[in-house]
């Protein structure tokens, strides 16, 4: 048996190449991860916004038969690196679900929210993708799970800064 990931990685990278979230479901060293992030950014930044949302990476360090499925929203690229077992259009829809979930959990999410609360963004992703496999696609269930856990944190420490009300971190 060998480790074959369906979703190999989820990345959020901004227009200047800075990474805002990175989850790797296959084992890469810290150095390899940074290299992959740089490469993904270089490939995506060349593409026009009219190009399709898929980029094949066959022959690259990701391994064979892998693709980048991505969406570009304003200043951020949301990228899922997937293998042939995933439906490209399905993953594209899932990115949309991820963004909407972030929006509901952060309250009108913007890049600055992700910068200051990267861990919360991870907690949202963890309710959608688990170990490189799709766990949940229903927006309501995803958001409810995240907010219930935020409430648990809040009960432990009301000053923890994790709130479900729309409250922006002091910049």
């Amino acid at each position: 048996f060998f480790w074959v990931e369906m979703i190999k990685s989820v990345l959020i990278i901004n227009n200047h190449g800075k990474v805002r979230l990175s989850s790797f479901y296959e084992h890469y060293t810290a150095q390899e991860q940074q290299q992959l992030i740089r490469e993904v950014y270089q490939q995506l930044t060349k593409r026009s916004d009219y190009a399709c949302n898929f980029l094949e990476t066959t022959g690259g360090k990701w391994g064979k038969d892998t693709k980048l499925v991505y969406r570009h929203y304003a200043t951020l690229y949301f990228i899922f690196c997937v293998d042939e077992s995933e439906s490209e259009l399905g993953i594209l829809d899932l990115i949309q679900v991820f963004v909407e979930a972030l929006d509901k959990c952060f309250g009108d999410v913007c890049e600055l929210d992700l910068i200051f609360k990267m861990d919360l963004a991870h907690y949202v992703l963890d309710e959608i993708v688990m170990g490189g496999m799709v766990l949940e696609t229903n927006l309501t269930d995803i958001v409810e799970a995240v907010q219930s856990q935020n409430n648990l944190q809040n009960q432990e420490d009301p000053l923890s800064g994790i709130k479900n009300a729309i409250e922006k971190v002091q910049r």
Partner: protein, 362 residues
């Protein structure tokens, strides 16, 4: 000053937000600033203070994202995971998920911790441990915890059942002997009252079947029932893929699928599902002229759609059709040749592949 030293330290200790603010204010000497922070974090990890350790690990996780190696803190991550507070566990398990590999030696110390948290009465605490397992599971953990995870398939909380089902795939990968005893329980989950649990079970079986399709042929009747009754597109996509693995082995199954697949193709508005049906037909239903003709006509719509994404997928599917219906593919010659000039490198690549295939066919 009347404050004791430890309280003063706490006042000045950086939170994650402080770290981020500091990074933004020190863009010109970022590496220097980070090294200073790492030194402070190392000091914080030496304290006997639970909260300090928790925040330290939180900060390290952020630095890991920026490319800094934090594996030296693996033991501290386990310390934080072991704290009773949910907040600490959330932080500790995230750090572990991001950095542990199956060679991380401290993983040996974590078996009982995973066991305890997996069995927690709090579904979210259990969920944290299961999620981490899905990322870091090694052979020993898989062997030791398989029974606990299988037991969770009967949890009263669908949230827990869903996660337990999905993580089993990882357990089977790392400890294949767990599959046989667990399989009947996994099969039961195909009839779970909760759709997300059924979907997770379908997902796991789909992946298992990719490697050993003949072992899963016996599930065909129940999978067929879900195919004809489910309205969940994600589930249907996985099921159609799964049948793609099974049909080449069993022509009678292929024959039975003609009607339901044709129905789906004619009624769904989800391109993702339509496309998946076409792919499965090109793999397992090649002997059935009627459905292949349906695929070709649907493919025409896909390729001629102005949406670049559909154009790309259309080209992909045409490539798969080449072996079965070369004439149908030839009809699209002009469209394909036009794609050779597309601005989009992804499209050009696919078109080139097709042209090579078309030329070789001659």
């Amino acid at each position: 000053c009347a404050l004791p030293i430890c309280k003063m330290d706490a006042m000045f200790r950086k939170s994650l937000a402080d770290l981020v603010r500091g990074l933004r204010a020190n863009k010109k000497n970022e590496e220097q600033y980070i090294n200073k922070c790492i030194q402070q974090i190392k000091d914080e990890l030496k304290l006997q203070n639970k909260k300090a350790k928790m925040v330290a690990i939180q900060k390290l996780t952020y630095l890991h994202m920026l490319g800094y190696d934090i594996s030296w803190a693996s033991f501290n991550m386990i310390e934080v995971m072991s704290q009773p507070s949910f907040t600490a566990k959330r932080i500790g398990y995230l750090a572990a998920s991001q950095t542990f590999t199956d060679e991380t030696d401290v993983l040996m110390l974590a078996t009982n911790l995973f066991k305890k948290d997996i069995g927690s009465s709090s579904p979210y605490e259990s969920g944290l441990a299961i999620n981490c397992m899905a990322n870091v599971c090694n052979t020993d953990l898989a062997r030791d915890l398989a029974p606990d995870l299988v037991a969770l398939l009967s949890s009263s909380r669908e949230y827990v059942r869903k996660k337990a089902v999905l993580v089993l795939y990882k357990v089977f990968l790392k400890f294949p002997q767990a599959l046989r005893p667990a399989f009947p329980r996994l099969k039961e989950k195909l009839e779970d009252p909760d759709q997300s649990v059924v979907c997770a079970a379908t997902n796991v079986i789909c992946e298992l079947a990719r490697k050993n399709p003949k072992n899963y042929l016996s599930l065909a009747p129940i999978l067929f029932k879900i195919l004809t009754t489910s309205t969940n597109n994600w589930m249907l996509i996985k099921l159609v893929k799964l049948f793609g693995s099974l049909t080449p082995l069993e022509p009678r199954l292929a024959k039975k699928l003609v009607e339901p697949l044709s129905n789906i193709m004619n009624s769904t508005s989800a391109m993702s599902l339509l496309y998946e049906c076409i792919l499965t037909c090109t793999v397992g239903l090649t002997a059935h002229g009627s459905i292949i003709r349906l695929c070709i006509s649907k493919l025409r719509l896909i390729i001629e759609d102005p949406d670049q994404n559909l154009k790309y997928l259309g080209l992909l599917a045409l490539n798969k059709l080449m072996a079965i219906a070369p004439k149908a593919v030839q009809e699209h010659k002009d469209t394909v040749l036009n794609c050779l000039d597309d601005e989009d490198i992804t499209i050009r690549f696919r078109a080139l592949d097709l042209v090579i295939g078309m030329v070789n066919k001659r």
